[in-house]
Amino acid sequence: MTSIFSTASEMAESLKQKEISSVELVQMHYDRIEKVDSGVHAFLHLDKAGALAKAKIIDDKRAAGEKLSPLAGIPLALKDVLTQKNQPTTCGSKILENWRPPYDSTVVERLNANDVVILGKTNMDEFAMGSSTENSAYGPSRNPWDLTRIPGGSGGGSSASLAAFEAPLAIGTDTGGSIRQPAAVTGTVGVKPTYGTVSRYGLIAFSSSLDQAGPCARTVLDAALLHQVIAGYDEKDSTSINQPIPDVVAAAKKGEVKGIKIGVVKEFQGEGYQKGVLNRFQESLDILVNLGAELVELSCPSFDYALAAYYLIAPSEASSNLARFDAMRYGLRISETAGQSAEEVMRITRGKGFGPEVKRRIMLGTYALSSGYYDAYYGSALKVRTLIKRDFEKAFSQVDVLVSPTAPTTAFKIGEKANDPLAMYLNDICTIPTNLAGIGGMSLPAGLAEEDNLPVGFQIMAPVMQDDRLYNVGAALERALHEKWGGNILKQIPDLNNLVGIFAGKGSN
């Protein structure tokens, strides 16, 4: 029986068998959202009328016997960083409050072309800057495993919507881990594809050379189905790779690791890692060995510098990317007195329209690029990027994939790290190197940490354009873990219906 607890592929099969209509499926999810989102606060905006109308059209097409895409009629939650024509697109920022873009991002075009039904836009750290979704101008999202905790970030709305069964699929974007870390802390699956395989056109840029949109789901196969829909060459994105995408769906169905060499990154263990995280990671490694994989311990010494390089490169690019939010052509405009000049209005609007983390990073990036400091900061960071690429190349000459915990800890409490930017930045320590090298990475659930019963993420990394390896290894591990747990990890999530009341309305400030 299809329910909100089904996987996207199960839902797709039910739609195909006409056991359920897309309208029913979409309505079912809006009912769930109605019930729980006051507590979870995954969504910033819902397009109920649009989604139901779309679902109706798809049902009609199906009734007429049209050949439909595999995900036709399936609902999806879209991170609010991607433009959707005439729908609010805020990036979690006040500066874009009420902005409705006159164009669709390529990801949205592809979702529409494949008849995926977009339920609404999900919450995020402002301009994707953060690891907790606490930096949203519209209030934090909450982790469905424990509503006092963060759902990860920046794509906390997307991950929370999946764990709360508000949507079976979601889109995230990953600049330094914003798909994978939220997946890790919510017990869901998230994939950052190889840079250049999912078009960035319409993805509101945080750091252009690092940003990549990707699939978020509750299973590896669901992620693969969505990956296949959104990935592919796009001439509107000059950094788009004009090559066929590997067959990730076939890989997700295969899940065979016999003879595969798996590299364990030495640098991603030890101090600063929660015990339960390391235990679950080790357990997963043991499972993979049992399944016939060969483990190789590897050192990638320059990874120690990845975080520092990232916090120079990303803010530098961001300082330039976010310059366009200037109150002239769209978005917020604040002027305090009549007769203020354009320049004053820009300053005031940007001062009031951006939150503290965004301002911090713009200032940091402005500094790193400014004359006299460029070589020491931004320039040096680009060199570290070269070293990290080389470390990956060397590692991948020895192994097929690399693995690590996705994040050093499980979900922390909302507010816990809000005043300590450096502590917050450490969350992305394991995910950042992949972004700097442009390679693909996946996070999938590895179980619950014994000390807090919260989900732990297992990260897989593969060479450029070999994203199918992520799905193959991920599927093998997932199958074994599901057997062990008696199903999806999310079966163990507390019943939200009992909890939501306490937090209702606390989502937005």
Binding site: C91, Y201, G202, S316, S320, A323, R329, Y330, A342, Y378
Partner: protein, 499 residues
């Protein structure tokens, strides 16, 4: 006592630097598919990319790359085998992204030169202007300042922005420091921009219309005491919108700086604006702090690495250089130096070339453009090319050659075309200007003339041929000059038994 130009150059040596921005004539913009048509309704040639909407990404126009390489090759530059786009970060409302996508330390072309010839006291002399770089970038939008007294930026109440021009491909051509021009600096500056414009036109990469802003020049100038081997502080003069202004701006700035230095003042490095009316410059708004553009490589675009094979193909396809072409045309048309120079100085070579290409005789074409049309343009305060098309001029000339128009009638036709009465043919019909070549109409006029002067007619009959002049004159008069005199003569003599 203020120094004159002549006094300034007795004491000071100028150093010139010229930055020319050229709008390429591609169909679409530099980084998006919007059209580049001049004069379209505001904000109708804009899209997410050139409006800098969140999420939009640039994609490089291949034609712009090719045009840039053409320009570089024509200016004897090296073509960089690996060059990149960079972001130049600064805030300004006419720039949608608040950064300009440009090239910084890796321009597509570099190290070239352009030789220009000017008249000096010792006759023609060639100066070599070295080119530092040719790089690609994008144009900004246009602002309209509303309210206030002047309609200018200062004192305006608010501004209105049109981004149709934003993102149009620009090529910036920067010279190295031009030294040793002495008193000829203004002429060299003008000759350089003129020669550059001619090359760009011959390459067909730009409309090169200074009055429409598709070719814009900034002139840098500094003075140093003669033989001091030092370099003075330079000013950068913008808003120089015609070839003549280039010369005037440099001259004006030399006089200003010379007088400033002479009175013990200091030249400050600043941007100045050329004032068309007075030929002087005035300072722009001084910035509180020097800009820090925070250039870095444009992460949304990839490096440009022109293959040498492609570059050679482009090199082989380049048109004849304007200087070479001029020599060739002069020989083909057999025009004396002085007259050819007159045509060049009047900036009418292209008009004559096009008129000849449309089928007219070169000598007549030259004489019409430099004569009657220039005279009318002068009266109207416009340039000859603005008045009438080369095709229309060619049509008129051909009609003269075919005997359909006399010179006198042709002048009326040209006047009619300029008055927007229609094409030459339409003007001929409307004004009834056709040469009367209809035999019966002419015969009627001839018979009338004979009837009026029977004695004269008799003298002709008797063999006094020169006497026919009076009769021919009468016929010409009665036909309002629209008759072909030779034809009248032929018919008259035949009629009087002398044909």
């Amino acid at each position: 006592m203020a120094l004159s130009f002549d006094q300034v150059i007795e004491k000071y040596e100028p150093t010139l630097g010229l930055e020319v921005h050229v709008e390429l004539n591609t169909k679409s913009k530099m980084f998006c598919g919007c059209a580049t048509t001049f004069g379209a309704e505001p904000n109708t040639q804009v899209c997410p990319v050139c409006l800098g909407l969140p999420g939009a990404l640039p994609a490089v126009n291949a034609k712009a790359i090719e045009s840039s390489i053409k320009i570089g090759l024509a200016l004897n530059c090296k073509i960089s085998p690996f060059n990149r786009f960079a972001r130049k970060n600064y805030f300004y409302p006419d720039m949608p992204k608040n950064f300009q996508t440009s090239q910084y330390d890796e321009p597509i072309c570099y190290d070239g030169y352009l030789d220009v010839e000017i008249d000096t006291d010792e006759g023609k002399k060639t100066f070599r202007v070295e080119i530092e770089r040719v790089h690609m970038e994008e144009d900004t939008g246009k602002s309209l300042h509303v309210g206030g007294a002047t309609g200018r930026i200062h004192g305006a109440d608010y501004s209105l922005l049109d981004y149709n021009r934003a993102g149009i491909p620009l090529v910036e051509i920067v010279t190295k420091m031009v030294k040793g021009t002495g008193k000829y600096a203004p002429e060299v500056a003008k000759a350089y921009v003129t020669a550059l414009r001619d090359i760009l036109r011959s390459l067909e990469v730009s409309d090169v219309k200074m009055e429409q802003g598709s070719l814009r020049c900034d002139a840098n100038l500094s003075l140093a005491p003669i033989n001091s081997n030092t370099l003075g502080t330079r000013s950068e003069t913008k808003n120089v919108n015609s070839l003549r202004s280039v010369e005037r701006a440099v001259r004006g700035e030399m006089i200003r700086q010379g007088n400033l230095l002479e009175s013990g003042g200091k030249v400050i490095q600043e941007t100045r604006h050329f004032l068309e009316e007075s030929g002087e410059t005035r300072p722009g708004r001084s910035k509180e702090q020097a800009e820090d553009y925070r250039y870095f490589q444009e992460p949304d675009l990839l490096p440009v690495a022109p293959e040498s094979k492609w570059v050679e193909e482009i090199r082989n396809s380049l048109p004849e250089k304007p200087a070479v072409r001029r020599k060739r045309l002069q020989a083909e048309w057999q025009v004396p130096d002085k007259e050819f120079d007159a045509m060049l100085n009047a900036d009418l070579l292209e008009e004559v070339v096009q008129t000849v290409a449309a089928g007219a005789d070169p000598t007549r074409a030259r004489s019409w453009w430099l004569g009657e049309i220039s005279r009318l343009a002068n009266e109207a305060g416009k340039s000859p090319a603005e008045l009438i098309s080369t095709v229309d001029v060619a049509t008129v000339i051909k009609l003269i050659e075919q005997g359909e128009l006399t010179d006198k009638l042709a002048r009326q036709v040209v006047e009619g075309v300029i008055n927007k009465e229609g094409t030459p043919q339409e003007v001929i019909v409307k004004r009834n200007l056709k040469v009367v070549s209809d035999d019966s109409a002419l015969m009627k006029a001839i018979e009338e003339a004979i009837a009026a002067q029977p004695d004269t007619a008799q003298r002709v009959r008797d063999g006094n041929i020169p006497a026919a002049g009076a009769l021919i004159g009468a016929v010409m008069k009665s036909t309002g000059g629209q008759a072909d005199a030779a034809k009248v003569r032929q018919l008259l003599l035949k009629h009087l038994g002398q044909g």
